[in-house]
Structures are given as structure tokens and as C-alpha cells.
Amino acid sequence: MSATFTDHQAALRDEVKKLLTDGSIKGFIGYARGRDSYHPVPAIVTRPDQVDGLILDQFSIFGLTKYLLDYIFEDGKMGIVVKGCDALGLGRLINDHRVDRNKVHVVGLPCAGVLNGEKVAKLGLGKVQRVTDKGSAFLVEGDKGSKELPKTEYLWDKCLWCENHNPAGADTLLGSEVENVAMKPRDFSDITALEKMPSAERAAFWTRQFSRCIRCYACRNVCPACNCRECVFDIADPRWVGNTVKLSEQQMFHFTRAFHVAGRCVDCGECERVCPMEIPLMKLQRKLQKDVIELFGNPKPFVPSEVEVLGQFRVTEDPEEFM
């Protein structure tokens, strides 16, 4: 029975308290309790007395690495707890020369998969007392009932095909590494389904999704690949995307953001998760991932590499369709 996140909570708090008191970090980015047991929220603590607010539970999905951008000009180190997928996000920020690795103290959290809080909350189990890992399922015990939740059904999709369970290059590791094997192969079937649709039907699908967009930019603000100092959407001249909230501006916004992240997305899925209007944004990113894999023979575009996918080329192997 491998350890769950909560088993590492005490160790994390001790580590953070030690690091804060001995001054090796001046703040720590972790999780705290949200409005219920199923929605933990980010927490940035700077004083030892705040440390007991830090929690770790099987619902801690939020990708925290983007907060490091607020501290790149502060002196001293910033601590952060990082799962496997977050480590890719951190790699993204480092490869983009936006975050200096020596100014980050990484606490690695080996992860066997995170429970989807939205789904579990609907089961009415009430306040969660304990979560135990039963191998192919998590047993969730709440004050209003308990249930064994099969991982293939209740984990976030990305956890099912994750091949990066252990955060590489952590300064301290909570517990020991978990088996780094994907529960199922990476699934692009929803993308191929959309591709097969006649273009009018697909256009209608995306028209419906983009018409819901309220341009709150939560997807951009959470994405570790969207780390520009001054975003092109905030610049008045040239005006790439108008202020008007209408379908064509949304189409330009979502095309531009997706293409800016093409070949750089680390598949953390946060954009889709934080979207208040539940627009399936990962269906944009995973389409680009699928094409990058097929076209440029790069099996893992979501793992940050030294050179960007669109920052290189192969003279003869790149497909030739434009003769």
C-alpha cells in the first residue's frame, strides 16, 4: 500500500518550517484547505506561523510553478512543492529563461495520480477524514460515507497516461519514488473524433465553445508556458485581439494562445481545469501535441527540451506538403 499525499503532509510542514527559520528560503508555495475537502487551493507562506495552514491531500492538483514568476526579481530563494507534472512546468519556466533554478528550493512529491475533486465532491461523502491507496483504487472515507474509487475512473485524465510520476531534480524528496509507469497509453481518441467530423460540424462545435468564453484570461494566467513579461493580448499597439467580446476575437485569442504554446505545452491540463466556462481547452493543446508527435517525430513534446519544437527543423525528414 504505497503512501498517499497526506502521509507526507507532516514531513512537508517540518521541512518548510526548517527552511523558513534557517532563512534558506523566504517563502514557500504549497497547498491549503479550500472551501471543502475536495478543492485545495494554492497557499504562499512566508512566516513559520503560517506553515500549519499547509496541507497535502490526494486532491492537490493545482500547478503552482507559475507563481515563481512573482519572485524572479526578489533576492533569496523560493520554496515550492512539485509533483511530476509540475516539474515539467518548472522545466518549461527554466528553459524559457524566466526562472533561475538556483533561486528555487524544490520539494519533490512523487505522485501516483491525483483524484478529480469535481467528480468525488458529487458523491456526497462529506468532509474527508482519510484517503488510502488500495493499488487500483483510492478508498475515500468521509463523515457522510466512504467509497472505493477506481483510479481509472476518478483520477484526472492526464494522470492516467502520465509517464513522469517522479519530479526530477528535486532538492528534497517527500518519501520515495513511485513506479513510473502509465496506467494507459496516451489517448488522443477525442482528438481524432473531432478531426473526423465534417468541417462544418467541427466549426459549430468550436463556435459553441468559444462563444462561452468571457475573456477572463484564467487559462493564460495559470499556464507555465504562458510566461511572457508583457503578454501580446495586453499590448494596445499593435492590437492583435480586440477588446470586444465576440466570437471572432475569441477565435483569434484561442488560436494565438494555443499556437504560442504549441510544442511547449507540458500537458498539465490546468488551462482546462481553471476555465470558469468549462471550455475544453486541452482539446486544442493535445491536437497540437498529436501533430507535433506525428509530423516532427518528437515522441514527448510535453517534456521541455533545450530547443523548441518550432525553433528547429529537419531538412529532409520534415514532411514536405507544399511543393
Binding site: Q50, Q209, Y217, D234, M277
Partner: protein, 343 residues
């Protein structure tokens, strides 16, 4: 005078309204219930606690053209008046209350917003009492309740398979008398009052946890508290809270031209955006998230109350549900009142 209307009659009333003018109602699409124009009652979804965004979309739209100009040699300007009549169905009590709060800002005082006023005049609000408040609702904290009807032209209370109805304004009576003619039946007064009382006393669990009493005074000398530094660190600086909130009303004006013709329009802006107060030359009086987060809650819980003697929040809970990092007004109220809700 209390009335009742059967579900079917309500359906045919709504069909008639949809035909005669622009009917806006809750529609379920891709898992999200939103207020959308409907062509028939069949499109309307009824099992929802509240719509993702509120009636504000139709009174104070996210993008609204104000005037059109043509500049081929001479300049001609034509104001765009929103004359189109519309009926909004399924408006929850907290949103009805939010309309009242918006009215104070946009229709009272020296400068009235002519566009907002025009839309208010052309809009009939059909309220629908809350059968099942969500676990993020806390309207009771502000003295409202699931049966609150002030602001509705017609208020409906679901009662078994029929609805208790009450026309509360001339517009409401016109609806009942006009398209509603023959569809309503007078209700037994006592039974009706009982239904209304049941809704008024319906339990709103999260409302009990949030006590707003005296929060505005507390915030009078809370401006420089370290709390704002701590709580604002986790904010993403996105516009979700402000754009789902039924009472936020900040906007910006811009022109967009195509060749010699163009439009002046306004669209929502969010105080949480980094560039909200960025001035020419680059100076920004609210340079970091701390000032912005503080501004949002001070405006709703201190500045607005000082001016309009009520909180600029109706406890609809949308920001509680949708803020990606759980930095919402209920949490701030609890913190400021010493009940530790945020780390």
C-alpha cells in the same frame, strides 16, 4: 394578489414571450447553464442552482457599441440605442438583488448611464425562487433569502408541479394580463403566503458561516494590514471573479475602425488585471496583486457601503465556486472578522 400557474401554462406563456420579443432564459449547454436567448420554452433548463453568469449580461453586456462614426472627408456620428424589448426568465433572488445594487450606481446620482437605463426600461424580469441553494450560496448573510423577490416584475415560486406567481410591477402586471391572459388562476392567499414563507426560511448552509455584520467598519482601518500581502499572493490576476460577479460594473471605452468607418464601444474591464490602472508612460498606481485584491474587496465591502449604504455583494457565491485559487469574498469576510479561513 397571489396567483398560480401550471407548468404547462408557464411553458406556453414562455413560448408566447419568445415569439413576441427577445426571451432570455437559462440554457444548459456543454455542462454549463447560462442565460441565453431562446426561441422556445423547450430549450429552457430548470434544474440549476444558478446560471454561470448573471442577468448583468443582458443589462450591462460585456461588449456594447455606443456609437458609430463615418469619416470619409466629413465626420458623422450616430448613437446606437438599445431599444430591443427583452424578457428575462429564471432570475434568482440574489441576481434580482444585484440588479438593485447596479441600479444605484448606474441610474442614480448626477450621471445616469443612458444605455443601462434604456435596457432596464425595456427588460421584464421574471424571478424564480431558489428550490435548492448551492453549497457556495450565502445570500442570507446579506439579509436576502431564497424567496427574496424585490426587483422582479413577476416572481414565481415552484410549488409541487405548479408555480405560485406574483406580479410586483406594472410591467409584471402587463405580462400577466397580456401574454399571460387566461394562464394564471388566483391562488389561495394563506397557502400562497405559506409557500412564500417556506422559501424565505429555506436553509442556506454556507450563509450561516459568513457573518457580514460590521465588516464595513472593520475595513475602515484595515487598509495597511499585512493580511492583504498574504492573501493576494495566491491570486492569479485573472478576471474570473469580476466577470462572473453580478455586481461588478467597471468598463473601458475604445474605438475600433475599419477604414473610414468605426464604432465606439465599451466592454467590461477587471480591477484584477495588471493593466487596469496602467497609465500612459507606464506608471501604475496599483502595481502588484496586493493593491488590486485589496481594491476589489474594499470597493464591495467598504467604499460602496459608505456611499450607497449596502454591500456590493448579494452572496450569489459565483466567485466562491469559480475562483481558481479560492480567493473569494466569503473567505475575506471571515478572515477580516478574525475567523481564519485563508492560510
Amino acid at each position: 394578489m397571489l396567483l398560480t400557474i401550471t407548468a404547462d401554462n408557464l411553458k406556453s406563456l414562455l413560448d408566447k414571450l419568445a415569439r413576441d420579443s427577445l426571451l432570455v432564459a437559462p440554457v444548459l449547454e456543454d455542462g454549463v447553464t447560462r442565460l441565453k436567448p431562446v426561441k422556445a420554452a423547450s430549450e429552457i433548463a430548470l434544474d440549476y442552482s444558478n446560471t454561470a453568469t448573471s442577468i448583468k449580461d443582458f443589462l450591462f453586456p460585456q461588449s456594447e457599441d455606443l456609437l458609430r462614426f463615418v469619416t470619409d472627408g466629413t465626420l458623422s456620428i450616430e448613437e446606437i440605442k438599445p431599444e430591443r424589448a427583452q424578457v428575462a426568465f429564471g432570475i434568482r433572488p440574489c441576481d434580482l438583488a444585484s440588479v438593485a445594487l447596479m441600479d444605484k450606481v448606474l441610474t442614480t446620482g448626477e450621471y445616469a448611464d443612458t444605455h443601462y437605463q434604456a435596457r432596464r426600461k425595456n427588460t421584464v424580469l421574471i424571478g424564480l425562487a431558489c428550490e435548492s441553494p448551492a453549497d457556495t450560496c450565502f445570500c442570507t448573510s446579506y439579509g436576502y433569502n431564497p424567496g427574496h423577490s424585490a426587483g422582479a416584475d413577476v416572481m414565481l415560486y415552484k410549488d409541487g408541479d405548479q408555480y405560485l406567481a406574483e406580479a410586483l410591477s406594472d410591467k409584471g402586471r402587463e405580462v400577466v394580463g397580456g401574454p399571460g391572459e387566461g394562464l394564471f388562476k388566483p391562488a389561495d392567499e394563506a397557502a400562497g403566503q405559506a409557500v412564500k414563507k417556506a422559501y424565505a426560511e429555506k436553509e442556506v448552509p454556507f450563509g450561516k458561516e459568513v457573518d457580514v455584520e460590521g465588516i464595513d467598519q472593520l475595513l475602515d482601518n484595515f487598509f495597511d494590514d499585512q493580511y492583504w500581502d498574504d492573501v493576494s499572493k495566491k491570486c492569479l490576476g485573472c478576471g474570473t471573479c469580476t466577470y462572473v460577479c453580478p455586481t461588478c460594473h467597471c468598463f473601458l471605452l475604445t474605438d475600433e475602425a475599419r477604414g473610414g468607418e468605426g464604432l465606439r464601444f465599451r466592454c467590461w474591464d477587471s480591477c484584477m488585471f495588471a493593466n487596469y490602472t496602467k497609465m500612459a508612460g507606464g506608471h501604475n498606481p496599483r502595481p502588484s496583486k496586493k493593491e488590486r485584491v485589496r481594491q476589489r474587496f474594499m470597493h464591495k465591502l467598504n467604499y460602496y457601503p459608505h456611499r450607497y449604504h449596502s454591500y456590493l455583494c448579494t452572496g450569489c457565491g459565483r466567485c466562491v465556486a469559480m475562483c481558481p485559487v479560492g480567493l473569494h469574498i466569503a473567505g475575506v469576510i471571515k478572515d477580516v472578522k478574525g475567523v481564519k479561513a485563508h492560510a
